[in-house]
Amino acid sequence: MKVLIFIPAYNEQYTIKNVVENLRLHCPEFDFVVIDDGSADDTKKICRENGFPCIALPINLGLDGVFQTGIRYAYQNGYDIAMPFDGDGQHNAEYVKPMVAKMLEGYDIVIGSRFLDGKKRGGMRIVGSGIISFFFKLTTGVRMTDPTSGMRMVNKRMIRALCDNLNLGPEPDTWAFLVRSGAKMAEVPVRMNERLAGNSYFTFGKSIAFMIRMCVSILFIIWFRKRVD
């Protein structure tokens, strides 16, 4: 079984080394590759100096483009499982193995969920997350407690689907669509860290646009999309 962990990194010169070393410590048997999304800082240089395998995109592609790069690399090299792992230190390497174990129980998609422990939380992000969860359940009948989690693992079948299709970015509507197409999804409890450096991709305006997009896509568009196999 070949597992690929790809590490999207955009201006992560301060954290990338730690992230990779942590991964090596906790799961030395899995392959990893850094995907540098056209960083303006020394991310690429640090990877070269430390001998980390690094796919350097010549220009900034953004979240979707980087995710697809990792998936395409996994597809071309015949990996059985692929997962993105944040280059900013938000994800914890010790949860990778439990996710792989869950996957081997016969799932197509495994999500690392921050909210499976049942604790009550507040804040705008949680409200947004809850709304998407609700719609997700409505259209798929499946519970997804943490739809915006960045820790997601997919198997070979999903790698192929994600690679072939224009409209399958790494977002909640994609998972909803894949589940409706017959993919089996499971969640595993994880803990995530506050980001150590750098800014979140989501500003207020972007969050609102994101919410509208997800609602329209999950509630409306999904009924008309051709299923993938």
Binding site: P58, I59, N60, N165, L166, N167, G169, D173, I212, R213, V216, S217, F220, I221, F224, R225, K226
Partner: protein
């Protein structure tokens, strides 16, 4: 609002929606780029079915005829859309330029290495 205008708006909006969905079905367009058009078409349908919305806002702005407010609204939304697309085009242009320059420089480096082996 005249019933003729309302019916026309509804028919055109529904046709537009069908066309957009058809494009998505055939994976010919990025979903993110169609959200705007879907929301816009639904808004037009809403306005045609419940013209009170338009009456309310027209009254608020002191516009005599609700049709005029409708046109103003559509023009406003279009202006906003044109601006965001214009921003997008700028970004794309920048990226394309950077990409072309990078490939050209890389080609040049490879040629140089080929012609002057150490």
């Amino acid at each position: 609002m005249a019933i003729e205008l309302r019916v026309t708006l509804i028919i055109v909006s529904v046709l537009a929606l069908i066309y957009i969905i058809n494009r998505i079905r055939h994976s010919k367009v990025n979903i993110n780029d169609t959200i705007f058009w879907i929301v816009f078409a639904v808004l037009l349908i809403l306005i045609s079915v419940f013209p009170m919305i338009i009456f309310f806002f027209a009254g608020l702005l002191g516009i005599q005829s609700p049709q005029n407010f409708l046109f103003l609204l559509i023009i406003g939304i279009m202006m906003l859309r044109i601006f965001t697309i214009s921003v997008k085009v700028s970004v794309l242009q920048d990226k394309l330029t950077a990409l072309v320059q990078k490939t050209a420089i890389q080609d040049f480096k490879e040629d140089k290495e080929k012609n002057n082996p150490k």
